[in-house]
Structure formats: C-alpha cells, structure tokens
C-alpha cells in the first residue's frame, strides 16, 4: 500500500519539481539539448531574465494578489449570504434563483467576454483591478453559493433553535453562531476563488488596457511567445514557478479546512 502510494506521489510531484529545479539552472543549461537532470549550479539568473519582461515581476505579483484579494472578499461575502438564504429560508422562486446562479457554470467564459467588456467600459471599470475582480466574482458565485448552501444545510437546526430561544436575531445568528460553524466552507470558497482569480488569463488581458495593470498569466504568455522564435525555456520555468508557488503554499496552509469544506459540501450535493 505504501509503495503504491509513494510511487504515485513521485509521479504527481515530478512535473512541478522538475520545473522548479529547471528554473534554478543557468539559462544556457535550462535550454540544453538533451536536458540535464540536475542543475550543475544553482542560480537565480532565470528570475533576473524573467524580471526583464514588461513592467517587472513585482508589479505583476502585486496586481495578481490585489485582484485575488478583492475576488476572495467579494465571493465570500456574497456566497455566504446567499448560501444562508437558500439553505434556511423559503421564499418565492427560490429554486429558480438558485438554478439561475448555477447556470454560469455552463457558459464558456469566452462567449460573454465581449458584452462584459462593453459593460465594464460603460461603467468606467475597464482597466481597473476592481473591474477585473467583479468579473471573477461572477464566475466564482456558482461554486460559492452551491458550496455555502450545502455547508449551511449540514449544520443541525437544533443549534439555531437554541440560539433563537436565547433571543438571537436572524442577523446575530448568522454572524455569531453560524459563521463559526461554516468556516471550512468559507475557506473552501475563498481558496477556490483565489486560485481561479490568480490563474485566469483571457479576461485579464481583454479588460486591462495598461501594462502596469496586467497580471501574472499575461506575463507568462509573453514569455512563452518569446522573442521571435527564441523561446526562453529558463525564464518560462521561472515564470511558472512564480505563478504556482503561492497557490501551493496557500493550499498547504489551508488544506485542512479546504478539504473539510470541499468534502462537507460534496456529500450533501
């Protein structure tokens, strides 16, 4: 059992590990034919080269993090409220509204990009990190609302009854009692929103009209297309490493809640 587990673990980690390792080779060694297994020297030269693209790597990390933060905040607030509403209250057309919220899952994002762009320019939010975050929130809501409704669903009703008897208002109930109980769900929604926002490319490209506002994935595309047929493999691996490392670190720190939330949300499905 352990042997199988370890072999699989090696296979799963292999691509990421090698990419990171390659990013630490010298630029010449990173594009050597045939490739070397281990770096002969460890150096950050590829990262220096990566930093020469566009407005510099720090700016792009800053932008990506900013957008991700707003997306996470917005998604968590909207999903928690809606999840609570759908789970605990009955009101006219609630099923219909729920389905409407889920429908965005089935749309290829590319197809509403043009209207979204027109909308964003009409309200003067194109080329702003907020505008981009608003778009991301839209596409995180289906998962977020679904997850939060299920998370609220598995909280025993007795807890609320007890709280009501103690004189809690609906609002107090949500903020003081329920939020603690549904924390894994909230973290799941937050992590999910972060990852998707951090990794999205096309909307970021279309909505941002100034270079200083670009996000990391746009940088990656630039690196990939290279300068006229001379792709810089080392810089590309450095870019990939910079892009995936925060995701992995975030996941490792929050995985307990994230997994718990995902599993809680899934069972009820």
């Amino acid at each position: 059992m352990y042997v199988v587990g370890i072999v699989l673990a090696v296979l799963f980690l292999f691509p990421i590990f090698w990419s990171t390792l390659t990013s630490l080779k010298s630029p010449a060694e990173a594009s050597a034919v045939p490739p070397t297994y281990l770096p002969s020297v460890l150096t950050f030269e590829n990262y220096v080269k990566l930093n020469q693209y566009g407005a510099g790597i720090a700016r792009y990390i800053f932008n990506s993090a900013g957008v991700a933060l707003i997306t996470v905040l917005g998604t968590v607030v909207l999903s928690t409220l809606a999840g609570y509403g759908f789970s605990r209250f009955r009101f006219p057309a609630s099923n219909l509204l729920f389905l409407m919220l889920l429908a965005a899952l089935m749309i290829p994002f590319q197809s509403i990009l043009t209207p979204l762009f027109l909308l964003m320019s009409a309200v003067k939010l194109q080329n702003s990190l907020i505008g981009l975050a608003l778009v991301y929130i839209t596409f995180q809501l289906p998962f977020g609302v679904f997850m939060m409704r299920n998370t609220f669903d598995v909280v025993p009703r007795e807890i609320e009854e007890a709280a009501l008897l103690d004189g809690c208002s609906t609002w107090q109930m949500l903020t003081r009692v329920m939020l603690v109980l549904v924390r894994p769900g909230i973290i799941t929604v937050a992590v999910y929103a972060f990852l998707n926002s951090w990794n999205e490319f096309l909307a970021a490209l279309i909505l941002m009209t100034q270079e200083v506002n670009f996000t990391l994935p746009i940088l990656l595309t630039s690196v990939r297309s290279g300068y006229y047929g001379a792709i810089d493999w080392g810089a590309l691996q450095a870019g990939i490493t910079v892009t995936i490392l925060p995701c992995i670190v975030l996941f490792l720190f929050l995985q307990r809640y994230y997994m718990q939330g995902l599993m809680g949300g899934a069972v009820k499905g």
């Binding site: 566009g54 990190l129 100034q210 297309s225 001379a230």
Partner: protein, 429 residues
C-alpha cells in the same frame, strides 16, 4: 430587517474599502492622460511584445527629449487584435498604435483609423518609405499609416556547416535545386545535423518564409487587389514540392513538425541546422547570444533564380478615437526621421523603414543586415482584409496546405483544398 439593510451598506463599504486598499491607483490612468503635470500631454501607445526592446528604447528617447510623453503598453502579439478590437468596440482605443502591417487594410476598411494622407505626403522622404508598408496602409486612395518597424525575410545559413559539407560558404544557394542539394550534403555530416528547418506548426512564420519562394518564382497567392485566390499557380505546388521532398528525404528535423513558431531560432542556434528562412531580428539574437556561430544571409530564391522577400513588421497608425492625433503624428514623424532611423534603428541592428537608408554606416560592418534591408525593399506582402483568417490562423487553410503537402506528401490535394477554402473565405468577407 434593518440589520439586513445594514448588510447591504456594509457590503458596499467593504467593496469600497477593497477598492482603496487595492493597487488601483496605479500610475497613469485617466487622470494622467487628461491632465499632465508638465504641460505636455500623455499619449497612450500600444505595441506588440515581439519587438518591445526596440520600441521601449525608442519611446524612452522620445520621452527624454519631448514635453509630450508617451505611455507604452506592450501586448502579447498573439492577442493583439482581440485586445485592440475589444477596445475600439468599446470606444476606448489608444491614441497611437503600432500594428502588424497586414492588419492595416482591415482597420482602414472598418473606418477605424485617422486619414493621414496629407501629413504623410508632406514628408520629404515619403517616397523612400518601405513600399510594402505604404501599399498596405493605403485604402481607397487614402493613407492610414506609416512604417514603424521593418522586417524582410531571407535565408540564413550556417557557414561552418557549409564548409564542412564541401560547399562554398560565400556562394549560397540561388535556386530551389541548390537549396535541396546543399541540405542533402549537410545532412550527410552527421546523425543529428540537418540541412533545413522551418516551423511546421506556425501559420504566420510560413507566410513570412515560404511565400517568398513562390513570389521569387513569379507566382502569387492572391491577386493584386487581394480578392482572388491564386494558389493554382504552378509556383505554389513547386515550392511545396521542394519542402515535401526535403521532408521525405529526412533533411528537416522531425521536431520541426510540432514547432508553433516559438522554437525555430533556438533550433538554428544549436549550430546543427544548415539553412532556415528568417528575418532581421535573428541576426541580432545570434550575434549577441551565439557569437560562435558563423552565419550568412542570402535572398529566398525561385526555382531557377530570382529573389523575393516578405516585407513584414509594424505600421504605426492613429486610431479614429485618438485624443491627440496631432501630437501622435509628431511622434511618427520623429520616428521616421533620418537621425532616429540611424541612431535608434540601424545602430541597434534593426532595419530602417526607409529604403534610402538600407546602406548606412552601421550596416556597413555587417553585410547580412544590408541583405535583410535590401530584402525588405524588394519585399511583398499579401493585401487582404481577411489576412488573419487566410494566413495567420493556426487552423486556417494556409498552414493546412503546407502541412498536408509537406508532411503527408499530398501536394496536389493540398493545393486544391486550399484554393477552395481561400475562395470561400474571400467570398464571405
């Protein structure tokens, strides 16, 4: 209930807070464009990433010496049109843009560019500007753009390998037969040494390096006005047969088939490729990064001689909604002036966009650059408002024709299908 109203206010506040905390107050933006601090204006300028190093140094030089400032945005080349199209559609174009010259007819046809005919013709060196750029920037008799960045395709070859194979490195191939012959001799040098290279999965690259073989032979892919497909021309099948035979003989490395255009310079710089079609940009790259490779440049020939080239690069144009058309043109004029062409183009190993400057003090030291500049001057470019769909689309008929002919060896079938598909696209434009 009141509580829930409070949620709303709280939510709004939260979003606003996030708005303030986030780096939205980036430098530039609308304020900067409207109210510059120094008295000049800020002109927004979009360009693609392929030649960003050159454009950046150019803009830096302008900004250091002029009151009006230029704010540059570099966009990944593959997404350039999508991005510009979306912005124009939303009424938010940049004040000035550099655009691949092949797209200018499409922009002009859609009334998206400012007519600069009078200003352009007022330039004393107007008739010295890259003829292909000017031709593509002309729509309905009016001029909508000027050359900004020039490229000419030509054949690059590894002199070291030529010598080893017993070929004269100072006498490169001048016909299709000589290309195939040289490729075969170089291939014989070793297991991992190949005679010829091209990016087999890159549509645009092959417009750049393959179409000139057809032109040099007297054929063409489109009629002069760009409305009729002429792929049935025997030159097309002939040039395809040349590639197809070299592929079948194993003179081209197998990896070429998968190259989407990101790797062809890397292939040549391994020093194990005899010849490849390329542009002036490669000279700079190889000289700087691979000084050990001794290479030459020659024209892309026809079957029995002749020479042609794809004149590529960017045109610079003022979008219809530009806030500062006057100021933008001042930059264009400055960029095409003799001094700038020499100091910021030629000196940095970039081709001048003027034919009268192909021979200059900087290129005198490197005949390969002169070859590239001359290639640009004799170069051609297909004129079409559906260029992208015909030639640049990775899933379009042009690349499909080359792949079917070269890798599957079905030249005739490839040409017939492509002629049909070209005709269909041109009819639907």
């Amino acid at each position: 209930m009141q509580r829930i109203v409070k949620v709303w206010t709280g939510l709004l506040a939260l979003l606003l807070l996030a708005a303030c905390a986030a780096p939205v107050a980036a430098p530039g933006g609308e304020q900067a464009a409207g109210e510059p601090a120094s008295g000049g204006v800020t002109i927004s300028f979009w360009t693609r990433d392929s030649n960003q190093a050159q454009v950046r140094s150019l803009v830096d030089a302008w900004n250091a010496s002029h009151e009006n400032q230029i704010e540059i945005t570099v966009i990944p080349a593959s997404e350039y049109m999508t991005k510009v199209g979306a912005s124009v559609g939303a009424g938010a174009p940049p004040d000035l843009m550099a655009v691949d010259l092949i797209y200018v007819p499409q922009f002009a046809a859609a009334n998206q560019l400012t007519d600069i005919t009078d200003l352009a013709k007022g330039l004393s060196y107007f008739d010295k500007l890259s003829p292909s750029h000017v031709r593509l920037a002309t729509y309905d008799g009016k001029i909508f753009g000027l050359p900004f960045n020039a490229e000419g395709s030509y054949l690059i070859y590894n002199k070291g390998l030529f010598e080893q194979a017993g070929l004269d490195p100072e006498n490169p191939p001048k016909t299709w037969g000589e290309i195939a012959d040289a490729a075969a001799k170089i291939r014989a040098l070793g297991e991992d040494i190949y005679g010829f290279y091209f990016s087999g999965a890159c549509a645009g690259c092959n417009a750049f390096t393959f179409a000139p073989l057809i032109w040099a032979n007297g054929g063409d892919v489109l009629s002069e006005d760009g409305t009729v497909a002429t792929l049935a021309d025997p030159s097309v099948a002939g040039a395809l047969a040349l590639y197809s035979q070299m592929w079948a003989d194993g003179l081209i490395p197998p990896g070429a088939q998968a190259d989407t255009g990101t790797d062809f310079a890397n292939a040549f710089t391994t020093g194990k490729i005899g010849m490849a079609g390329t542009g002036a940009f490669a000279i700079n790259n190889i000289k700087t990064n691979f000084p050990e490779i001794d290479f030459g440049a020659t024209f892309l020939p026809g079957q029995e001689g002749g020479a042609s080239s794809f004149a590529g690069g960017d045109s610079i144009a003022i979008p219809a909604g530009s806030k500062y058309p006057q100021e933008a043109f001042e930059f264009i004029q400055w960029a095409t002036s003799e001094e700038v062409q020499l100091e910021y183009y030629a000196k940095l190993n970039n081709l001048p966009v003027r034919t009268d400057l192909a021979e200059n003090e900087y290129f005198a030291q490197d005949s390969r650059l002169t070859t590239a500049a001359e290639a640009m001057a004799i170069g051609r470019t297909p004129y079409s408002i559906v260029y992208n769909q015909l030639f640049n689309d990775a899933n379009g008929p042009w690349l499909k024709m080359i792949q079917t002919a070269v890798f599957d060896g079905k030249v005739e079938e490839a040409v017939n299908t492509a002629q049909e598909e070209f005709t269909k696209i041109l009819a639907g434009q």
